[in-house]
Amino acid sequence: MNKSDTTIQQKIDQLDALVAWFDGDDFQLEQASKKLQEAAKLAKSIEQDLNTVSNEVAQVKRSFASDSAE
């Protein structure tokens, strides 16, 4: 899993929100540089997470051959 508690999807959502800020009414040129840096950092973090995180596979222990649960 990710090093932080933030999931990849949450980071993608955050990036979407940042990108939307540039098109929104709250846009301020003075903050653009800072927001741009945040977006670049998030994109990098998403890339790192995606390239390193693996899936966790667990086989259910009970048998489904009969009705009785293990």
């Binding site: 540039f22 098109d23 890339e47």
Partner: protein
């Protein structure tokens, strides 16, 4: 030689004991004839071929696929001699056999379930864009499962995948898959999606996915179900009842999770597009500022010009009142008292003359 002697009841019992020992469970293939259901509970029919016929008995709840006269089937059951001395097969399960019968059974059940609305598109739920918890029902030894897992792992990470190992072929498969579905839909922490995976096979191999109870269980699942069963051309009733049907196990993996490389490219493009966007905004603001300065300059110039024009007008007005201009036209300016005998001064354009008032008359 002494022959054994039995009562009739003992004879029936020992015959059944012998049959049970010799053939605890057998499969018989044949054509269905005289199919009937009594009291809504008991199913009777004959199984026959060109030379012989045998009576069969089963309970309605064991009938998992539509059966009718003329259909070729494989029955699994035990031979038994009844207390009335009638030999029959007590059937545990029945499945259509041969392309024609499988297709016919499929079409009958499809029409019935379709009428009930199990395949209606408005029942279908969409899958989460990126699931976090996935429940997989498959045979981990099957090639289809391996294909599915490989592509899922290639495409995405961070998933928690629970796998229920079931048999995906044969008469036990539907019940095992139903139990796995029940297991996943009754867990405290529910999966975001259930995926049923089975690789390619013959129509007979895939017939488990046309089992009526399994199809109903798929349709009733409280968790969205994605199926990846067989090849692209194989469409089972489970596929029709599922929320999303993938053409193959590999395709199921593609529908389940996005491709991480696509996401990386997409996020990079998002960020890259921001720089020209900000530069565009700066350019727009610069143009707005330039425009304002230009308008201010023009307004100042107009104001100065107004002052010039007003000054020129005032100058022209003053010139009109200059007495010299009247004198140049022949008029004279007279100073002094206009009384007879008084001296006055007359100024013309060219001279100043002193004169005496000789006469004064009121006009």
């Amino acid at each position: 030689m002494v022959h054994p002697t039995f009562s009739v009841s003992d004879f029936v019992a020992i015959t059944n004991q012998t049959l049970e020992y010799a053939y605890p469970l057998i499969e018989v293939e044949g054509e269905v004839a005289s199919f009937k259901v009594n009291q809504g509970k008991f199913v009777f029919f004959d199984l026959k071929d060109e030379k012989a016929s045998v009576g069969c008995f089963m309970m309605v709840f064991q009938l998992r696929v539509p059966v009718e006269d003329g259909m070729r089937v494989v029955v699994t059951g035990s031979p038994k001699l009844t207390q009335w001395g009638k030999f029959s097969l007590t059937i545990k399960s029945i499945r259509p056999s041969g392309e024609g019968s499988i297709k016919k059974s499929f079409e009958i059940l499809k029409a019935r379930l379709d009428k009930e609305g199990l395949f209606a598109t408005d029942r279908k739920r969409s899958l989460p864009t990126v699931p976090r918890r996935v429940a997989v029902i498959s045979s981990p030894q099957a090639a289809g499962y391996a294909d599915f897992m490989k592509i899922v792992n290639d495409r995405w990470g961070g998933l928690h995948i629970d796998v229920a190992a079931v048999t995906v072929q044969g008469s036990d498969a539907p019940d095992q898959i139903i139990r796995a579905l029940n297991y996943f839909t009754t867990q405290e922490e529910l999966a975001d999606v259930i995926v049923i995976i089975r690789g390619g096979g013959s129509a007979d191999d895939l017939s488990a996915f046309n089992d009526e109870q399994l199809v109903r269980a798929v349709a009733a699942s409280r968790i969205p179900v994605l199926t990846g069963i067989g090849h692209e051309v194989d469409v089972s009733l489970c596929d029709l009842a599922a929320d999303v049907r993938a053409a193959t196990p590999s395709n199921a993996a593609q529908l389940l999770v996005p491709n991480r490389q696509d996401i990386v490219r997409q996020t990079q493009l998002q960020v890259q597009s921001l720089v020209p966007q900000v530069l565009g905004i700066i350019e727009r603001l610069r143009r707005q500022a330039e425009g304002k300065v230009e308008r201010a300059t023009e307004a100042t110039e107009e104001r100065v010009q107004d002052y010039y024009n007003q000054l020129a007008y005032t100058k022209r007005l003053l010139a009109e009142f200059d007495p010299m201009r009247a004198m140049q036209r022949g008029y004279a300016l007279i100073r002094g008292s206009a009384r007879v005998g008084e001296m006055i001064e007359i100024e013309t354009a060219k001279a100043i003359i002193e004169a005496e008032v000789k006469k004064y008359e009121q006009k």
